[in-house]
Symmetry: C2
Subunit: 202 residues, 2 copies
Amino acid sequence: MPTPKTPSRKNDPAGLRRRVLDVAAHAFQSAGYAATSVHDLVREAGVTGGALHHHFPSKKALALAVISERVSAEVTETWIETVRAAPSAAEGILTVFERTIAHLDTRGAVQGCPLGNLTLELALADVEFRDALAAEYAAWRGAIAERLRQDGAAYVQRDPDGFATVVVAMFSGALSIAKAEQTTDALKACVPRLRWMMDLPA
Amino acid sequence: MPTPKTPSRKNDPAGLRRRVLDVAAHAFQSAGYAATSVHDLVREAGVTGGALHHHFPSKKALALAVISERVSAEVTETWIETVRAAPSAAEGILTVFERTIAHLDTRGAVQGCPLGNLTLELALADVEFRDALAAEYAAWRGAIAERLRQDGAAYVQRDPDGFATVVVAMFSGALSIAKAEQTTDALKACVPRLRWMMDLPA
């Protein structure tokens, strides 16, 4: 009779932690941090208050985990990996805009930028929130700047960091407008300007 | 003996309404809409619950007034009037970026874009909020596009609306990054790119 390597357990702490993070990430994005109570999260995740508290001793600890695990993963998947894998920084940047437009047009609803949403609500509330959010912007800009540097792109005019910052600002701001308008028009307006800024044919 | 045209009154409904709007506009920007209770506003404005309710029958009515009166006035003063009064659209746009950088550097704190802050919290909550926020973005973009059209600027490549949208996205997104970082670096990065996009000497 084979012996299971890990004993079968009724508890699944990793699964529970993941479930709480899923529910919290969704609630903080859709309703907002302040509008979400720990009680709501306990109910929606189907966990006990004690179990939630064991993994996340405070609502703030939970929000910091949402930033450093969930928002970070979205920035990495959407932006960092795409820009790294593309034939050039310019093509990677345009791919992200185009994929985002296609995704939002299919879904028919714009929830905004996960990082922008939490930044606008939390950056002034607390220095730990601010540092966590600033670290995500830094990683995002840094990956674009690094790729621009590798390409030796002339259009960045010896300032890949500044250029990367403008790309991030355009994306983030266009997603805010898109959220207010519930259309992707603002993201679409960025595409020809980005092509032009990056010396690509129109 | 001169007769006062309006009788002296203990009540000052216009002043009271203004005071409530002042307090609410500040609280919704700094703490957020969800995190602010009507009870907080009553206390901070030094008014009775009944008086507040007389002017604003709901918290939502109060937020709609903050958008259409206070946020709107900030967009008008900061952007619309500046772009209209400047020698050209390009100079107006750069003036707003430069004044905003100087203002934030002096103040030493970045609270973000008043319209962006409320958009990210409220645009999905309710269609009336969304319509009110979208109207402010439309007025902002519209004023820039109109000025670009008047200038007949070649750099907009026959799409003044798209160009205006990108300017608004850059400003709004750069203010989000600035809020996370509590520096004006992201706004500063936009200036040389805007000069370049608008055919102005570096």
